[in-house]
Every structure is written in C-alpha cells, then in structure tokens.
C-alpha cells in the first residue's frame, strides 16, 4: 500500500483548497451535470466551444478532495485545446486512472500526472474520473447528465 501522501499530493490539495475556474458560465455552449451517487459528489461542468476549440471551461459543485481537484485540474488542462485534443486527453486520463497496465505515462501529462496515485485506491477512482466523463459527454454526447454508475 502506498503512502497517504501519494494520493493527497500537495498539488492536489492546492486545487482542492483553491479550485480553479470554479464559476458559473452563462454563455456556455454546453452544461452537463456529473453525479456520483455512491458518495454524493455532484458537479456541473460548463464548456464554451467555438470553431472546434474549447475556448472556456469551468465547473461548480460539491465533492471530495479528489473529485474537486480533478475537475479543477481538468479545466486548466483543457482550456484552449481543440475538441479532438481534449477527447484524447480524456482517453489518456481514463487509461491512467482505470487500467492495471496503463499505456499513458503520467510524466507526459504534466500536473495531471499527480492524479495517477488514485489508481491504488479502487474505491476512489470514480471520484477522479467523474469530471472527465462529464467533459466527454459535454463534448461528444447529447445527455444532460452523467452518473458514475
């Protein structure tokens, strides 16, 4: 079992204490609700897409440190990317967090790599993936909400 500090890295705690882009977005092109019924985590993710590019992304909601930090880091990582790049990032994060033998190298993901430790905590993986699934739906699906079940 890894150390507690591998999961709650300083970078993650910083995002938890001061979530970035934590705001409503009245002019969003898509707003999707993400819900983890197991622990009650609930967030709403906003994206503004123009010309195939994510011009702005933000979120509001309540959740545990991992889900809030993951959503906060997502907004920083995705802003300015094309929709294709953002979807590729979703796929890489999904691989990193959920597969036993990920192909994705956390070192290449920049600060998002800090979330890699979540993989050691199977009960917590959904906390980290919630915002990413919500993003995926915001970019590609037409549902209004996502749950982790």
């Amino acid at each position: 079992m890894s150390e507690m500090s591998d999961l709650y890295q300083e970078l993650i705690l910083d995002h938890k204490r001061n979530p970035r882009n934590f705001r409503d977005m009245p002019d969003a092109t898509r707003a999707v609700d993400g819900h983890n019924p197991l622990c009650g985590d609930q967030l709403r993710l906003f994206v503004k897409v123009a010309d195939g590019r994510v011009e702005d992304v933000s979120f509001i909601g309540v959740g545990c440190a991992i889900s809030v930090a993951s959503a906060s880091m997502l907004t920083e990582a995705v802003r300015g990317k094309t929709v294709e790049e953002a979807q590729r990032l979703f796929a890489e994060m999904h691989d990193l967090l959920t597969s036993d033998h990920p192909h994705t190298d956390p070192a290449e993901l920049g600060s998002l790599g800090a979330l890699a430790g979540v993989h050691e905590y199977p009960m917590r993986v959904k906390c980290a993936t919630l915002s990413w699934h919500t993003l995926d739906t915001a970019l590609t699906g037409d549902e209004e909400s996502v749950t982790t079940e």
């Binding site: 079992m1 507690m4 999961l7 709650y8 705690l13 938890k16 197991l38 622990c39 009650g40 985590d41 609930q42 309540v62 959740g63 545990c64 440190a65 991992i66 905590y121 009960m123 917590r124 906390c127």
Partner: protein
C-alpha cells in the same frame, strides 16, 4: 495513551476475552491493528458462528421439511431449532410468528406486499423522516400500485422524532405506522413503547425496523406490543442472507402469501392450491438453512455473554466517543438524541467524508462514509454525506482514541 484513558472505567466487561471470540479482529490493516468501527453496516462473526456454518456443510447439508433420511432430519431439526432460538430471543409467543427471510429489507417488503394487499387507494401509512431507504421505498412501490398516501413524522434538529406532530398524522384511513426502532444514520433510539400505545389507541398496527436495535437493546416483542418486527442476522453477529420478520399471529394469519412456490403449500393442483400454515406460508423455496442455523448460533452466543455488562460497555464507548470526537476542531456530530445506540455520525469542515474514509482506512480504522441509505436525513441536515463510527461490545477505548487522533490528522492534512 493518556492517564485519563487508562483510568476510564471498564467495569466487569472483559473486552479482551470477548475479542478472542472474533478472530477477524486480530488482523493488521495497512500496518495498523484493525479497529472495526463499521458495526452498523455489518457486525463481525464469532468463531462459533463460523463453525456452525462449517459444521452444517460438512455434516448435515440437506433440504428441510422433506425427505426422511438422517441428514434431512438433522437439517430440519437445527433449522427449526434456530427458529425457536429467535422466538426466545425476542420473546415471541410462538414460532408461528417467526418468518425467516433474507434480511430486514425483505421483511419490510413482505409486509408492504402482503399486508399491503389489504390497502386501498386513499389509505394511509405513517413513516418517519429518519427511515432507512428499506422502510421508505417498499411503501412508495405500494403507493404506485394502489394509491395509498404516505405521511411522515418530522425530526427535530437534535435528531429525535417530533412527537408533537404524531397525533395529527393519525386519521380514519391510517392503516399502519412503520418506523425504525433505532436510526442507522443518527443513532437515535425512538421511544417506541409510547408510540405503539398511541398508534393502538387509533387501532393502527405498528411495524418496527429493528435492524439497528437488536444488536444493542433487549427486544421483547410482547412487552413492546408491536405488530411486526424486522431485523437482519448479519447485524446481530450472524451470517448475511438471513433475517427475520416477527408478525403478530392474528395479522400473519389474515395476510395472503408473499411469494409462491415449494415449501409454502399444503396441496397443489392446477385447479386449486392450499397454502401451508404459519410460518412456512411465507417461506417459499428452499431457505438459507445454514444462515438460519448460523443466526441461531449467534443468538446462543449472545445469550452466553453478560448482556448487561456488554450494554454498559457500549454505553461507555458511546460516551467516550462523543466526548473525544466533539473535542476535535471543526467536527460536528450529526444526531445528538438523548437515547442512542453506540454510533456517532459526523461531518468535518473542509473534509469530505470520502477523503475521511480513505485517510482513516490507512490507519486501520474502518468507518462508513456516505448517505447511509437515509438520503432524507442527509437532506434535512443539508449535508451530502457523513462519516459514521459505529461500535459493538468488542470495541475498545483505545480504538476510539486512535479515531480521534486520526480525525485531527485528517483535518490538518486536508483543511
């Protein structure tokens, strides 16, 4: 350990001796001794219960109530012997009033389904705001089928039932009051004797959800004068998959069968089937024979303990936990009723219960984080979830102190 802890009175209860009956408690988790504080979710099983299951499958495995061979006789004798143990434990008048089911949830579903068949559109069932989902959803399903009306006794900020509201909820169409004996999310022990009296004055029968009460209180269904009492074996130091519905014989006799099949019939032809008598009429199919025998053994084990000593120990654990946790900065206890079973539900500023659960687990402390299948309670307190430390007679003061220390650490780390 501080001097104050060493001088904490332990009475005559020998907790270390009792812990030896539960080998599972002796393990290390993440390099720390396990402190199992999730007893409201399920209790651990004493060695004697594990041995009863093992013995049954090694020696006596057979179907019950059919076959005349030796194994069938032994299995039937022990299965029905377990029913007698349950009857004695809750002081029912007769084993005809003891129905074996999968657990509390199925027991309440049976009443909602079978007793519920006698209800008509506009009839009313009273619930309370502190019910587990198992005592809400079956009644909502019945409402969808028949159009009954659900009325809800509200709760006060301290987590007690607002009994001033109760008289106004009884009406000419009230058919049942279904409430929890003790709340799994708050710990509150409800004053069920006076509630049952009030209900009976209106000729309303009462169902008690006893899942959280039977492990901690002496339950006497005749003294309570309740009409139905539901509980689970696995929260009473017995196996999962087995539970009990006590029903007043007069009521059970009048109720239609719950499920159809073998075991519950007397004769079957394609024209007409006659049903078996109580309690088998409500036990279609092969039951969880080993589970029932295991539950019977768990009850025998409990009867072998100094029950008063165990209860006194639990009361001291609750006092100790309440005092220690209240002193943790930023911590708020949810549910401060006057009478509680030994559990403490709490939230901490800036620390989500899920993070809390992970941090505590890392120190070998098993607690529950979540909505505890009581989402209306969470809504009332405006919290998404709570952490819950729930104790049994085998827990120690040292485990509580470790919990309090870990909570301080969690706050330092995350807040």
């Amino acid at each position: 350990m501080s001097a104050a802890v060493l001088s904490t009175p332990t009475g005559s209860w020998d907790v270390e001796r009792v812990r030896r009956d539960f080998p599972v408690l002796g393990q290390q988790v993440h390099g720390h001794p396990l402190a199992y504080l999730d007893n409201a979710a399920t209790t651990q099983k004493p060695q004697t219960v594990v041995e009863a299951l093992d013995h049954y499958y090694h020696h006596d495995n057979s179907n019950v109530h059919r076959g005349v061979h030796a194994l069938a006789e032994r299995a039937t004798r022990d299965f029905e012997g377990a029913r007698e143990s349950v009857r004695r434990f809750i002081n029912a008048r007769s084993t005809r009033e003891i129905v074996f089911l999968r657990g509390t949830t199925e027991a309440i579903n049976l009443v909602a389904s079978s007793f519920g068949q006698g209800l008509r559109e506009g009839d009313e069932v009273i619930l309370t705001a502190m019910e587990h989902h198992a005592n809400i959803v079956p009644w909502q399903l019945l409402r969808e089928r028949t159009g009954i009306v659900l009325r809800v006794v509200p709760i006060t900020p301290s987590g007690e039932l607002d009994l001033d509201a109760l008289p106004g909820l009884f009406g000419p169409r009230t058919r049942l009051l279904a409430l929890t004996h003790a709340s799994n999310a708050l710990g509150t022990i409800n004053p069920v004797e006076s509630i049952i009296k009030a209900a009976h004055e209106h000729e309303v029968p009462v169902l008690l959800d006893g899942a959280q009460a039977v492990p901690h209180l002496r339950v006497d269904v005749q003294a309570l004068d309740c009409d139905f009492y539901a509980f689970s074996g696995h929260k009473l130091f017995g196996p999962t998959g087995i539970g009990v519905l006590y029903g007043r014989e007069r009521l059970l006799e009048a109720m239609p069968p719950y499920q159809g099949g073998g075991e519950m019939i007397r004769t079957v032809s394609f024209e007409k089937t006659t049903f078996a008598g109580l309690p088998h009429r409500f036990e279609a199919g092969t039951p969880d024979i080993a589970g029932a025998i295991g539950l019977g053994r768990a009850i025998e084990y409990l009867e072998s303990l100094d029950w008063e000593g165990a209860m006194a120990h639990e009361a001291r654990l609750l006092d100790h936990a309440t005092e220690r946790l209240q002193a943790v900065p930023g911590l708020r206890i949810i549910g401060q009723a006057h009478e509680k079973v030994p559990l403490v539900s709490f939230v901490m500023d800036d620390v989500h219960p899920h993070d809390m659960g992970t941090i505590l687990d890392h120190r070998g402390l098993a607690v529950r984080a979540g909505h505890h299948c009581a989402m209306p309670v969470m809504t009332f307190y405006r919290v998404p979830a709570t952490s819950r430390a729930s104790m049994a007679f085998y827990n120690t003061f040292d485990e509580i102190d470790r919990l309090a220390e870990a909570l301080r650490y969690a706050r330092e780390m995350l807040a």
